[in-house]
């Protein structure tokens, strides 16, 4: 697990951007599922916005809270940005056609993943955001072996100075 302090929204977006190349590469072999957790306002959508920018998306990145799902066709991968905040029952996932999203080149980003229960595919990468002091902190955990190098690399040097203060456990 790598823990990163994010002093402001720009640092949250920058973390997303740093994840972009590794996630784009990883999903070529098979779909990658990322769970984003954390309370309202913790920066989940901000992180996804940075990630999508890092993947080459130039348009808007709107909150998928109402639409549940926002698709993005990008040069290296097909991104599905889900938000399960409004899900009353995990069974409602059946109406989202989730299984169609799980194919090579597919990158599935799920906010409020905890509301999907067992019906949601497990996380290859879990990003838990929370408030810390005047900023936020991110805890990044690999759920599958193939994402471990990516998480380990987050703890290495090379990150922007604005998101310093990193510890690895």
């Amino acid at each position: 697990m790598t823990r990163i302090f994010l002093p402001d929204a720009a640092a949250t977006a920058a973390l997303g951007a740093r994840l972009a190349p590794g996630l784009a590469a990883a999903c070529q072999a098979g779909p990658v599922v990322v769970h984003l957790e954390g309370p309202l306002g913790a920066g989940k959508t901000t992180l996804v916005r940075g990630l999508l920018r890092g993947l080459g998306h130039e348009g808007r990145v709107r909150s998928p809270t109402f639409t549940l799902l926002e698709p993005y066709e990008l040069p290296d991968c097909e991104v599905m940005h889900l938000d399960l905040y409004r899900l009353a029952d995990p069974a409602e996932l059946d109406y989202l056609g989730l299984e169609d999203l799980l194919r090579p080149g597919g990158l599935v980003l799920v906010e409020w993943a905890e509301r999907g229960g067992d019906r949601l595919p497990g996380a290859d990468l879990k990003l838990a955001l929370d408030y810390q002091d005047a900023g936020r902190c991110a805890r990044c955990t690999a759920g599958s072996g193939r994402l471990e190098p990516l998480v380990a690399a987050l703890a290495q040097a090379g990150e922007p100075a604005s998101s310093r203060r990193i510890e690895t456990k």
Binding site: F66, Y85, A91, Y95, Y131
Partner: protein, 341 residues
């Protein structure tokens, strides 16, 4: 011309019948009606977005309420996008197939075009051109409407929709979700001075919105407050004022920039009393006419789909025999009927 309209782009299953002479004959949302015979008198609790099981019983019921048989219909309109692709396909499959079976043309309607034209179901209807402020749980946009198929998006949200910010702030204040209307109610007992909130994007030129930061400012702002009833009401008041300042400010800026002096306010947030009070006051002072469609046509519904579809069918437009739906569909790519794309 008489048209059946089907809306299944997201949560609601909506069906309606409109007639170009008699107007709206019947409309219903599955979530709000009592269905009768189809389920033996018992309406099962079906999951949100389970359009497959909801749609046909609702079509039967609405046709019955409209006193219309399929033989009297001249067309079928369904939401062709944008929206959840699985949800859209249910409406598109059903609508296209029913039209095929009944031997009438079908048409896939743009969901946002239908929202923009919904005020024309009212009397008095706004004349073209008008500015539409569409603010709901899913949308926040300002659109210049010159006529059928002539839309220019003047501004939209960069992140959260206005209604979403209301609902999430309500949740933070312990009002449940979605609690936008409850927050507005609580705000009536509140007043100024408890915390200072930003007016996102209001000082910047342009007509885009951003509401994610406003929600976060409330979350951070209330950290050190004792949240008794009066404090919660004051926080609700501050939030609503910030939101209304931005919506009114940007709407009037759109009026000023375009010189169009008719403003239509649609979407669930358009029901907010404080927004209406401020808009009506500020707009009247500038000689701007403001129109508010009835609330049931502000949120997703079948009537607006039937109406927009009827306008295009009357102009001779129709879908091919294939079943088509699109999750993404840019409003500005629409054209008036008959115009080359």
């Amino acid at each position: 011309m008489r048209v059946l309209g089907i809306e299944t782009s997201c949560d609601e299953t909506g069906v309606a019948v409109v007639d170009d002479r008699a107007g709206l004959l019947a409309h219903a949302l599955y979530s709000q009606v009592r269905l009768h015979a189809e389920f033996g008198g018992v309406v099962p609790e079906l999951a949100s977005r389970d359009h497959v099981r909801k749609l046909l019983p609702l079509v039967d019921q609405v046709l019955a309420e409209a006193g219309t048989t399929p033989a009297e219909l001249d067309g079928v309109a369904y939401t062709g996008g944008p929206g959840l692709i699985g949800a859209l396909l249910v409406g598109a499959c059903a609508g296209r197939s029913l039209a095929w079976a009944w031997g009438v043309p079908a048409i896939g309607v743009h969901h946002m075009e239908a929202h923009l034209l919904a005020p024309m179901l009212e009397s008095p209807a706004p004349a073209f051109p008008f500015i539409a402020l569409l603010v709901s749980g899913g949308h926040s946009m300002l659109v210049e409407v010159q006529g059928l198929g002539q839309y220019r998006v003047l501004g939209e949200t960069l992140d959260d929709a206005a209604g979403e910010a209301f609902d999430k702030t309500a949740k933070v204040l312990g009002l449940g979700y979605p609690g936008g209307p409850a927050l507005a109610q609580l705000a009536t007992a509140g007043g100024p001075g408890r915390l200072s909130l930003p007016r996102p994007m209001l000082r910047r030129p342009g007509l885009d919105f951003s509401f994610s930061g406003l929600k976060t400012a409330v979350i951070i702002g209330i950290r050190d407050l004792e949240l008794d009833e009066k404090t919660r009401a004051d926080v609700a008041w501050e939030f609503q004022e910030a939101m209304v300042d931005v919506l009114v400010g940007k709407s009037l800026r759109a009026v000023e920039q375009t010189g169009i002096r008719r403003l239509v306010v649609a979407g669930g947030v358009g029901a907010n009393r404080r927004l209406r009070e401020r808009l009506t006051g500020d707009a009247a002072a500038l000689g701007v006419e403001v129109f508010y469609p009835r609330l049931e046509f502000c949120t997703d519904n079948g009537a607006m789909i039937a109406y927009a579809g009827m306008l295009r069918l009357k102009a001779g437009e129709a879908a091919s025999s294939s079943i088509e739906a699109r999750a993404r569909w840019d409003l500005e790519t629409l054209r008036p009927p008959g115009a080359s794309v």
